[in-house]
Symmetry: C2
Subunit: 308 residues, 2 copies
């Protein structure tokens, strides 16, 4: 069985959308990645850090999915990373109301025993130095290293980010960030420039407008499933990445064809994530629901044209 | 052979994009629709109006494609509809610098002999009363009536627009207009409301983000082909509609399955339209180019997932 190593935040989120408001609930990139990836047959572990205030019940949600949490450091007397945000009416943009790094500020990641030979490493959005430290702890080069990042690291740690981008296979990034990173408006040109920086595969996430996969001269596109209502977009990108990484870990073979399927699986899982606050929907997600919606993705996109 | 009746403007356009600027060139909804539709085997006619200033060379471009122009009125001493616009740097928005309706202001459409029994009627963006007049001139109910419209008519002729929308089968409309028309942000909800207004099929155009087809509980999505450079978006929506209508006229059967193919063909042709100013690219387009790009659409969207 393939092994997936997940690195990322575990957090408290407080979210406000036009549909309601939460108190502190379970969040964090590694959490969403783990919940999505464990939809597939694999062994997985999370490398992260939390404070003593992080509830056992939240840990149990991940443990119940057989995610190895021995790499999750619990800092004595420390507080868990906290993010608070409020989405605008169209749910496509948001204001960050609070970011308290807390224990994440001094996070020194330790890859747990048994996962230094992971097949796939999913580096969730974090300081590039933390991402690099994990790469350096791997016993041998993993089959696949996937990195997610955001504009904050481009603005503040460009050189460190470029170092880690030079060592990975796949980057997942949103459209505005791809443009910022390359100073190219065309996503085709932006993806070509990013490939020159290192990653052979570039995944550009466009939110409600779907995701594009670029590799050499090949392009694949997966739409987001059109939904009656998007309730809370928090975690959708991490869920997408988790589904993508989880599928590839299970599949074992790394090719453009298998990445197409990985993109569809990621989009499929993300379509559930946004239906409720935070991790609510992902925690209760059933296999038959996932499969039924995969069929919807087929109906949404597959056609049969004969040339005329 | 199926018959397609096209109603819409024939015009002079003057266009400015970040890549350059034109003088008065050939434009108009009916022109773009006709150039796209005649990529398919069919008989077609345009109902439109121009002034005496409209060059014979422009007429010949359409005549050379066997489009019947006997329904194009040439107003003695009249001037042709003129539109001037300037696109912003992202090419997703534009300012209209001039709109001179000229002969279009008093346009009284006359369906030409031999096309009052057309199989498909494509009502290009125009005053809804003109669109209604054409419907009323049909000898019998066409197999399919497709209507394109825009926010201007919602703002100024809502009642007349609703009357004509009650009589058609397919509406093509952009995402913002669908939201405006229904006061629903979710395109799924918007499409459901529009179906209640009359059309059984709703096509929502999202520009660079593709197009959605809604019919009862079915949804189909076609992306726009990711291009290195969009040169001039003018006419892309009309080219899409022309490809859509042209394919269905040729195919003869009206079903959700054939509409999927129509959407792909429309998106495919639109991807050429935006590569040059105005009609330049469409006029020189070769069959082998169209077919090669259809294969690109397949590669871009088709996948093969087995359930796990």
């Amino acid at each position: 069985m393939g092994k997936l190593l997940i690195v990322g935040s575990m957090a408290f989120d407080a979210i406000e959308t036009p549909f309601g408001k939460t108190g502190k609930i379970l969040g964090g990139a590694a959490t969403f990645i783990g919940l999505a990836a464990t939809q597939f047959k694999l062994r997985s572990a999370i490398v992260s850090v939390v404070g003593e205030d992080f509830p056992k019940a939240y840990m149990d949600i991940l443990k119940d999915r057989d995610i190895d949490l021995s790499g999750v450091e619990v800092v004595k007397g420390g507080k868990t990373f906290f993010w608070q945000g409020k989405y605008h009416n169209d749910l496509n943009s948001r204001d960050t109301l609070a970011t308290e790094l807390n224990t994440l500020a001094d996070f020194n990641p330790i890859v747990p025993d048994g996962f230094a030979d992971a097949d796939v490493v999913m580096l969730g959005n974090l300081h590039p130095n933390i991402q690099m430290s994990v790469i350096n702890q791997m016993e041998e080069r993993p089959k696949l290293i996937i990195l997610d990042t955001m504009n904050f690291w481009m603005n503040h740690t460009w050189d460190e980010l470029m170092d880690v981008i030079g060592k990975i296979d796949v980057i997942t990034i949103n459209d505005e960030e791809a443009r910022q990173m390359t100073k190219e408006y065309s996503l085709v040109k932006a993806a070509a420039k990013i490939q020159e920086m290192g990653p052979k595969y570039v995944v550009i996430k466009k939110g409600e407008h779907g995701a594009l996969l670029f590799h050499e001269n090949n392009i694949f596109f997966a739409p987001a499933l059109p939904l009656e209502e998007v309730f809370d977009p928090t975690g959708a990108g991490d869920t997408f990445a988790g589904g993508f990484a989880g599928y590839l870990t299970m599949a074992g073979n790394i090719s453009f064809e298998s990445m197409k399927n990985a993109i569809i699986h990621g989009s499929n899982l993300a379509s559930f994530c946004v239906e409720r606050f935070g991790t609510e929907r992902m925690v209760e997600l059933k296999k038959h629901e996932v499969e039924a919606r995969l069929m919807q993705f087929k109906e949404l996109t597959q056609f049969n044209i004969e040339l005329t």
